[in-house]
Symmetry: C2
Subunit: 126 residues, 2 copies
């Protein structure tokens, strides 16, 4: 099974020891990287059943639907899986800022050569 995860046409997610895969979320229109989160089997199932992105919170140890408190849900247009099936790509239409800081993307800072971070304008984030 392990050997052919990269050539099969079956979705066989390879969960880590904690039962999780990495989920990469990009904007369907701009392809900007919005956020990175984790999904367990239930989060994947709920996302596929509802079309709304669900994740597993490692800190809260709970399933959550993105936007359930903020209102900024993620409408999933497409899901992809990587070669060894331990990472998923979610292509989404965001209802609002994806980052808890209120920014469009969680990737709003560039790492400079001296180790300082430069904050990026909203339209070039992610």
């Amino acid at each position: 099974m392990e050997q052919n995860r990269d050539s099969t046409d079956r979705f066989l997610p390879r969960f880590d020891a904690a039962g999780l895969v990495t989920a990469i979320v990009v904007d369907a229109d701009t392809r900007a990287l919005l956020m990175v989160a984790h999904m367990n089997a239930e989060a994947i199932e709920r996302t596929r059943a509802t079309g709304q992105a669900h994740f597993w919170s490692r800190s809260r140890r709970a399933l959550w639907r993105k936007g359930e408190t903020s209102g900024n849900g993620l409408n999933v247009a497409e899901m992809r899986v990587d070669c060894d099936q331990d990472a998923l790509l979610l292509v989404v239409h965001p209802a609002g800022p994806a980052c808890h800081t209120g920014r469009r993307s969680c990737f709003y800072r560039r790492i400079d050569a001296d180790g300082s971070l430069t904050f990026l304008d909203d339209d070039v984030q992610g």
Copy 2:
């Protein structure tokens, strides 16, 4: 320290229990998602020092430079960090296919509603 990782202008990577952060690699020209890997402190240091992407292999428990055997290195144009500093974005110019299967991107399959995977053409991968 934990509280202001999202507002600081200092790069303070938050490593997990295994000493790793998630690294998301995108193409500088197309913004296509190429691959996902992990970096420890040394991989980050080597990447910043050389401009060539280095990662930590969890399976081999070793530092590796992407392309050291395949020749398909990743020239890093820019690095970004996410709000809680446990994930990095590497914006790269790839010297060749990023995936070990010889494909441009590791994300070459779409997950369909019935759980089957559809293989995508090279120019729309990632």
